[in-house]
Amino acid sequence: MKTEPIIAIKDLYKSFGENEILKGINLTVNKGEDLVILGRSGSGKSVAIKCLVGLIKADKGEIKVFGTDITTLNNNELNDIRVNIGFMFQNGALYDSMSVRQNLIFALKHHSRDLSETDIETQILEALDNVGLEESIDKMPSELSGGMKKRIALARTIITKPEIILYDEPTSGLDTITSREISELILSVQKKYKTSSIIITHDMACAKMTGNRILILKDGVFNAEGTYAELEKSDDEWVRSFFI
């Protein structure tokens, strides 16, 4: 039996002034699928996933998330969809006036308003345990390293147990070892919570480890699609250049 994809993008266009970024992209993500999007800087990867959560309004096209076309929704209706989507930002985007604990509470309380204090504490500790940073619970974001910030951002993303998580360059700016640790965490989150993912990255090790399908964005459209092994042996030299 074929299930409906949880995300389906059809002919999506987006321009900024004269600059056409997305020129009719099509994309589907099925439940449990982990999709990696590759592309050069400025190719529109981040714009595409920001359109998916309504952070950027598309010029034209259809974006179905959980079967609902979000391009026609108002902000309140969009929020009902957003509670099932997690978004991990490139630089973590932790609220820097709040401690780690408050960052997690903020995400959780606005997501499920009727949780008791005990439930909140349990879920915070579970989320921090998942990323191995329980001891940082009372630290401020300014006291954390780049890798720790990304881990806390991941904890903040998974604490609301979303069905799909969008990762915007989760390993950018990190050393090889920390990048690998973040990739392993993403993989463990995918397995533990059975989430679907869209991962935007330039890190091929991360793409290989976390994605079961890869799309390559070029000139505003998806130029190539396949598994890591398939694309690595592509006839297209430009596609192969990502894997060198």
Binding site: F89, D96, A107
Partner: protein, 252 residues
């Protein structure tokens, strides 16, 4: 020149939309009481030391500077009432509001600008939290309510500073000084001055939030947002003050 004018009209249109959205969101639940009280603390309590010092100096200096002129006309006894009226009607509201524009509007502009640049506002939005309601409405409400309270506090401290200033060269008991002050202050001296401070507070918060919320990407825009917030808020204080004085003059 045409582009310059066009930009002014675009900015005015955006600011009007921003203001209308404030009134739309203000009465819609959920209400962010905790964030509102946190902002009241940040705006009100944390500005108190600065207002105390400046308020005291305002009263002290005004008394010392006015004394020689009044002495020439043998009107030294008018000093308490003159100082207190000047403070209540004009000096304390405007100077306090300018201090708040410098401290609060720039702080809000820089904070929200930095949140915008580091995608914290986007993070709030994708967490299904309305960032306008959480960040903007609470801050504008806090400045609207706290600036008038700070001005009233500055009035009292300024009048007390006037008492100290008077006693540097003259001699008057505190009871007589304050009796003289109370005797010469009427309802119409206080009310228009207090009402205009709500507008001062509203515009300080509004402009700080508008500049921060609309900061473009890049760290340089944070500094620009803070700077523009101070300049625009200070200018708006003078414009509101001029209008308030005209309206008061017309009706009273």
């Amino acid at each position: 020149m045409t582009t310059y004018l066009k930009n002014i009209f675009i900015e005015a249109g955006d600011l009007t939309q921003f203001t209308l959205r404030f009134f739309q969101e203000l009465f819609k639940p959920p209400f962010q009481f905790r964030e509102f009280s946190r902002q009241c603390f940040a705006v009100g309590y944390k500005t108190l030391p600065l207002i105390t010092v400046t308020g005291f100096i305002m009263g002290l200096v005004l008394t010392i500077q006015s004394r020689p002129t009044l002495l020439k006309f043998g009107a030294e006894s008018w000093l308490p009432s003159m100082v207190s009226l000047s403070l209540i009607r004009e000096i304390a509201p405007v100077v306090t509001a300018l201090i708040c524009a410098g401290k609060i509007a720039s702080g809000i502009g820089a904070e929200l600008g930095s949140m915008k640049v580091t995608e914290q506002i986007d993070a709030m939005e994708v967490s299904a939290v309305n960032p306008y309601k959480y960040l903007v409405v609470t801050r504008i409400l806090a400045t609207t309510l706290m600036v008038p309270l700070l001005v009233i506090f500055a009035d009292f401290i300024g009048i007390f500073g006037g008492y100290i200033g008077y006693n540097i060269h003259g001699s008057m008991t505190m009871f007589r000084y304050f009796s003289d002050v109370v005797e010469h202050i009427g309802f119409l001296d206080i009310m228009p001055a207090v009402i205009k401070t709500f507008f001062f507070g509203f515009f300080i918060g509004l402009i700080g939030c508008y500049k921060g919320f609309n900061a473009s990407n890049g760290t340089a825009s944070v500094g620009i947002a803070a700077n523009e917030a101070v300049v625009s808020a200070s200018l708006s204080i003078f414009i509101i003050d001029m209008m308030a004085v005209q309206i008061t003059d017309l009706f009273f």
